[in-house]
Symmetry: C2
Subunit: 386 residues, 2 copies
Amino acid sequence: MPPRDQSQKLLFRSARNAVITALLRNEALSRSELSEITGVSPAAITEVAQAFLQRGLIVELPSQAGGRRGRPIVQLKLDASHSCFVGLSVGEAKTPLVITDLRGRVLQHQPLAAYKTPSELTEAAGEALSKALRTASIPRSRLHGIGIAVSGIVNAGEGICRYSAALNWKDVPVARLLAKALHLPVWIENDANAVAVGEKFFGRARSLKHFSSIILGPAIGSAHYINDMLYRGHDGSAGEIGHITIDPKGVLCRCGRRGCLDTIAGGHALRDAAKAAGLSATNMRGLEDFALHGSAVASRLLRSAGNALGFAAASLVHLNSPQCLIFTDIEGFGNGVFRTAIRQSLENNIMARFLGSTQVVFTDADTALLPRSAASIAAFEYLNSI
Amino acid sequence: MPPRDQSQKLLFRSARNAVITALLRNEALSRSELSEITGVSPAAITEVAQAFLQRGLIVELPSQAGGRRGRPIVQLKLDASHSCFVGLSVGEAKTPLVITDLRGRVLQHQPLAAYKTPSELTEAAGEALSKALRTASIPRSRLHGIGIAVSGIVNAGEGICRYSAALNWKDVPVARLLAKALHLPVWIENDANAVAVGEKFFGRARSLKHFSSIILGPAIGSAHYINDMLYRGHDGSAGEIGHITIDPKGVLCRCGRRGCLDTIAGGHALRDAAKAAGLSATNMRGLEDFALHGSAVASRLLRSAGNALGFAAASLVHLNSPQCLIFTDIEGFGNGVFRTAIRQSLENNIMARFLGSTQVVFTDADTALLPRSAASIAAFEYLNSI
DNA sequence: TCGAATTAATTTAGTAACCGAAGAAAATAG
DNA sequence: CTATTTTCTTCGGTTACTAAATTAATTCGA
């Protein structure tokens, strides 16, 4: 047998970690496959698998000899139902709460009652959680953490919401409050970061080492994974693509400057502009429909939005050269004028060399996206602590 | 004694690494200081120090009791002369080679003879190295590696220069060629990346976890350190700030598109523009002087260059939120119109929130900057392999 | 049908890299 | 000269691995 290639080994923090990562990326793997993929010795795989089996984190599938010579392989699989996580998205109009399993599947959906203050949030979350657990008959003991996606500026390390315009909060220790009330570990994260974690953990970025995620919502946010790690910026505020200047003489932005990308391509700004132009579009699907049926104004708005976004995203690609750019559409633009304009603008503004090497993906977000992503943070932290 | 804080431990790959990093950042440290700084146990520090002392990598300073109670402390210090590294910068008009010590001090400077092909480079490098060693009477045995900064696109992992316009090279296995000829380990790196490594290892970025370096040369390059690691992008081409579009209707760039930052603020472009305007400035100091003495054209060129660069750098700050932005001036602009315009443009284009939190630094490069930076790559790799 | 071959997984023994606690070393204070 | 203080080392133990040998469970071929 050739000496084992250990070049990959350093990529993982530990053998346990490597095994979990491999099992998240693949439905089921045998011990020898795990050894090969992770670069960890078969002996160590046996040991780690034993520990995980004992905990109930993984299960053995019935062995399948299958016409092959040799001892039959026994596949291992994460037991998705082993643990559940709570995901919560605050800052939106509604406050959805979900319970997911270990693989990010939503088991239960339960919106919170309206709230204003942090303590009202705590109370509403407690009630919604109890109800969700009751309805889905999930024992509390199976919960292993809560993730919260906040639309605003967050200090993830300390679990503090530093500022949220939507909630009118400043320096609220959200994580501590909820952890105390619900007796569970709580992590909070900016919503764009949460979506990126979700994509990395459960979504289409699972095997990408470097990617950026761009969220098309009321405002435009982005987040970067670099070297398999979420990069938050030195003070937790990387990814402010929405405030890249597009037109120095443009509309005043709430950040105090003029012509930020948000004022041209943010959902909120587009709704305002549509209203000002006399178009009665309540959501972006409506605006796209106007454009589709010949409205020059709608078309112009969407095209200039797409151009601006493509321009800013091109800067991102030139600067960071991600493997993939994931656009997440939570405003319901769908595949229309906006997307086409983004694609075109990207093509026009990116060096030829990058065009082939950076994948561009568009995703339609469902309503559970943010809370589900939030839950993935808790899942990630839990599995990393194992 | 309170239980030791081990929160920092994970930041380092190993105790050895932590000790070296601490000793690079500090002139001299006692074992107990090292233990405190790195979070490694005193026992482990003793062990690591012993190994390093044996190798001659560090030395003990004479102990100083100094009026204090208790056993006198013994300070440890990297022995800069323990090992030397070769740095080489290719792609410029001249090809400077330097020999540095372990702390990045240049011991000897020896430009290469002219060359065109890779094999001519190998020969010229061998001759220059021999001469440099002879002149400085450094024994060959003290050399531990060669770092090469290439102006072009590089695959650092495989040691291949994928493309260099200045050299007219394509897929040249530079590292392998030189390693074979000179019997030393060779690393190559894009020049902007090399400068960033130099700043991180020996320069003002030693204790910065995240920073970006922007090189103002014939072309404009940039490089990012993120989470204490050089981030090269998924295919080794992050940092192409020079090809961010500033003016879609601008001058044709050699990348095939129009109005790239390089065509407005690159040294090469500015020289061309100055010549076209009838200004006989051979270098950028000359152009700045024209502006200083009232030339409206020179002033306009430098201001628009600075505005464009500030605009692009603002995008970088919004996207990546580095702790620090280090501009390295290798064209000799000095502190004039250009810098002022960059600073102003940054202020105008960056959200207020970032203004205070992102440090902006300008550095004047000396002629040894690139080869010295190249040598730091070899030093880094050598110390990491210990 | 039964051993040979083959592949998967486990066991065993060993190592590197740490840690904590106790102890030794080298100074000062009284 | 002894107690105190601080630095550094020694010692024993743990964790997380590895390589090599061994066992397990199957198919193939005579």
